[in-house]
Symmetry: C2
Subunit: 277 residues, 2 copies
Amino acid sequence: MSDEISRSDLVTNAIPVTRSATLPEPPWSSLRNKPARPERRPLTRDAIIDAAMRVVDSEGLGALSMRRLATELGVVPASLYGHVSGREELLQLLLDRVAGEIDRPPPHPDDWQAACREFLRSLRSALVGHNDLASAAIGNIPTGPHWMQLVDGLLGLLVAGRMPPAAAAYASDLLIEHVITDVYEGALFAQRIEADPGYFDSLSQYLNALPADRFPNIAAMVDHLTAGGAGSGDARFEFGLDVMFHSLANATVATDDASSRAAVTRPTRQRHVPSTA
Amino acid sequence: MSDEISRSDLVTNAIPVTRSATLPEPPWSSLRNKPARPERRPLTRDAIIDAAMRVVDSEGLGALSMRRLATELGVVPASLYGHVSGREELLQLLLDRVAGEIDRPPPHPDDWQAACREFLRSLRSALVGHNDLASAAIGNIPTGPHWMQLVDGLLGLLVAGRMPPAAAAYASDLLIEHVITDVYEGALFAQRIEADPGYFDSLSQYLNALPADRFPNIAAMVDHLTAGGAGSGDARFEFGLDVMFHSLANATVATDDASSRAAVTRPTRQRHVPSTA
DNA sequence: AGACTAGCCGAACACTGTTCGGAGCGCTAG
DNA sequence: CTAGCGCTCCGAACAGTGTTCGGCTAGTCT
């Protein structure tokens, strides 16, 4: 699955029970004096990440508080700060772990575009396997080692497609952001549905109730909007992939000379935003 | 800049002093019993939104707590809940207000693509004018009236470009999400820079320090990555626009017959995500 | 003038992330 | 074998957060 980085993770992660899970303590043992002797597991960084991931997977990122995580580990919140600088870092570590779950893409694929799509799909499915977690990566692309390797792999695929480096840099961000946004949107929607099963109905009902004179286009295509906004998130995701790769494929053969920006189509005008602020 | 909406705002916002700012209260007045007589402004919904927007604009969304907002209005937090159901709704109202700031696009433009780009740029500049606020709209596209009108206008432009409805529905989401993500990312980056002026340097330094054997592509194009990841966010945004519209323009002339999904290019395979969960 | 109603307030509840000083344990130096 | 040291964990607290409840007050309507 992964390489040498996850080795240490798995090692420190594989010693949950240390000893004395079968025999009772003899009465003269000093252990009987202290109340309950709470087992004193070492509480490593990886154990924290494990527990945090368990909470996120089952109850979502909103349920992951330092206190909740501490009780999950049989520990007081302050103890966590000896291994993790804070919640921010913890989230980065979680994201880096899911980045470690996916395989590195082939460095020299036959079809770079197909490999790219498959790679992004695997990133997506890794993220959707962990509930909400994608929201922690939203504007905030992580910088952990596994994630950097992920980015490196994607960049490799793009340059394998003979995309100019500047365009590849932009494109990788664009593609990853698309994955993250899509996953987060899906998780959020699922959460809303779970909280209120009638959510989708009330939403489509709201769209249907919009006055057609002021919202002519929404009224005209309300079916497509409700179909796309909700149900099978896969189609939405694939649509985004199609849109982007259609351009990016052309970009590889088109403007290799264009120095840095906008290497896809020549923009209608090099116009900056009118800055109304 | 805007129309009839900001009128009421200014009205409710322009009556801070009502009376008795010059003469002292006579000693027998009942006003001397109660301490300070806190002026009893009406506290309308729009006044709340005004104050909230002021806080967000100057200090960011993180500074907008119900307590902060209450003190800003000279009021206790509980009073806000008579006009706003909670923080969630407040954010939706804020977003809808900025959606009200931008003009509706022309329904029948000469060049639909140029009009579309310009429209998205105006949305972007409206959002960047309000700090962090875009983050409140991230997975969570608002449903307020102004925002719906915004979506309706965008859909109108897309169908004006002869895009099939299903594709237009997907595309509008994709485009808007791109705007929001871009703005949020920019605001977040600006915040980090403000908190730690050396942030960008340390980040590019980190990228430069990555071992080239394990991160060959990042090492090879670290210049383009740092150039794109930070400085002028406009180029990133325009790149995304170029990528998407290059495809979308082709989609209008290409597959009008394709029923619902993936109306741009024929996908390599109709393959669903392998669902590792 | 009296009753009513809407809206604001004080206080509290149940949380959150994070910090600080003290206490216990294991390991190492003497 | 003991003394010291350092690392880790704990208890408690700080400074916040969103939200709710019941009471009070002020303006309005009859």
